[in-house]
Symmetry: C2
Subunit: 320 residues, 2 copies
């Protein structure tokens, strides 16, 4: 009998965290426990996990001793904390070191981008990675590109609106920048493989379903739906202006999470389409290894299959 | 006939730069040119290089167009700029990008340490590495550990004083922390190999003569000299206090290069002996590859051979 690895997961009820929880449970290789902050303990989503028999640790992140208790005996700590709370992870790291956790997976799970200067969201993650390295805790950074679930166009018929958080009928720049994309549901399946793999220790890894340009995505949408799309074009200059505007707005009101999110979105566009960071070649340059090389037997969901599911009414709106 | 790689070297008259220049010339694989700032062009050390027939580019680092001219056709740009001028390298990077340089070797050439928070000297280098990654310029970071030339103890007889920039008869902490050490003269020989090697592209590499603890170093010194050493001990607390003191002094007078150097030295001690960063295992954790694995045929100078040379009066005082 193999001993199951004990995983403690923070952020289990978010989009990424849910996918990870599912992936870990599906794999059968893990004993998963959940870490929540006291303010979240009574949330229906947390209660539901508790009813499934998952052990819930409700701990204030400032409570160092309780964190050490929760971390003792944990093999792998995974953080899928929300984007506005990234720096809160610092509170976990000393305790993870003291408890001798064998691997920490800090909250990455975004597109491939350089360490500093391209995206505020990435910059804050870098602070955490640097603290991990300072402490010498074994780690794996896992990025996932952009989700299929927020990369598909609106159809004239409105057939896929039910699964969209906002309408999308834009081509950025030339529409030819190929982006690393992963089906959100595959994220957790990839994570379940990556965290048991010695080759990924102290490395950066990206998951990938497909690398597709917007033109390719729109083509697949047209082919599978039979509808004709007429996207609007957004120039690189427009994208740059949008970064400047959202940056200025946040500077005036630095603690406003909505303004922060607006900047994140503008910088995602800039990084994906103008800088073209979120590509296999730049990931390779930055030293990432990819799941396609690591797990050639893993068949990720294709974008076409994903979109056909949407057309069949089997999609789900994220963040809802 | 193989075409020689064209190398442009900044900092060629410094200790590291001189070793690199020698190593590149010795290998015979390079056409080396030198970049100096106008203020340095008349220095005897620069004049001497010019007399050897080396092409000298005397360019103000703010002169973007001239930098682009100098960089055009250069395969490899190596910077061995002084520790107080690290951030000046930013002025080179846009030009290097525009001139499509195939590899940049930014000024690293120090001990292994984490990206942020352990050593101010390392933190400034990280700013440069991040800018390189932001621009997507192919690079190699080369660290060398600490030099033999500043790691050997003073002997009671005074026989090796002639080659010492300051007396050394201290054991830090337990004296058992093993540090990556390289003979300064081997640095350039290693660089000549590393920069022609595809395996080191976009990677961090460390050179290594030996990894030795202070106790091992003192033992070799006693064996080869026949003298008895009686080192003083400096506790971890003393080292920490020295970091705090030098940091406070620099805060009061932030542009004082002497106070900056004092902090560098204190942080080197802290990083090497208290944190024990400059070790093969931590380098491995940080993702470095090492020259021992890359070049098993390369026979670096051993510390014993180096010290026997010193005893034979064949040493040289660095920074003199």
């Amino acid at each position: 009998m193999t001993v199951k690895q004990k995983v403690l997961l923070l952020g289990a009820t978010g989009e990424t965290g849910s996918s990870i929880l599912n992936g870990l449970q599906e794999s059968g290789n893990f004993d998963v426990e959940i870490l929540v902050r006291p303010a979240s303990a009574k949330k229906p989503s947390v209660q539901k996990l508790q009813e499934q028999g998952i052990r819930i640790w409700s701990i204030d992140l400032d409570n160092f001793n309780e964190l050490v208790s929760a971390f003792t005996g944990v093999d792998i700590l995974i953080s899928a904390i929300g984007p506005n709370d990234l720096l809160q992870q610092k509170k976990l790291l000393q305790a993870a070191k003291l408890a001798d956790i064998k691997r920490i997976v800090p909250c990455a799970f975004i597109t491939v981008a350089p360490p500093k200067g391209a995206m505020l969201l990435r910059d804050e993650k870098e602070e955490i990675y640097n603290t991990i390295k300072f402490l010498g805790i074994p780690y794996t950074v896992i990025d996932v590109g952009y989700w299929y679930q927020i990369s598909f166009p609106t159809l004239p018929s409105g057939r896929v609106n039910y699964a969209q958080i906002f309408p999308l009928n834009t081509i950025h720049g030339e529409g030819t920048a190929r982006n690393i994309l992963t089906d959100l549901r595959d994220v957790g399946r990839f994570v379940a493989r990556i965290i048991l793999d010695d080759r990924t220790l102290n490395r950066y890894v990206y998951t990938i379903g497909e690398a597709l340009s917007e033109k390719e995505i729109y083509h697949i949408a047209e082919e599978t739906s039979g509808e004709k799309l007429e996207p609007t074009c957004l120039s690189n200059q427009d994208i740059e202006a949008s970064v400047e505007q959202t940056k200025a707005a946040l500077t005036q009101d630095p603690r406003n999470p909505i303004k922060r999110t607006a900047l994140y979105i503008a910088q995602y566009q800039h990084s994906k389409y103008v800088r073209q960071d979120n590509s296999p070649s730049y990931a390779d340059y930055l030293g990432y290894i990819n799941t396609r090389e690591l797990y050639p037997d893993f068949q990720p969901t294709t974008f076409r299959d994903f979109f056909e599911e949407l057309l069949a009414g089997k999609g789900r709106k994220v963040y809802s």
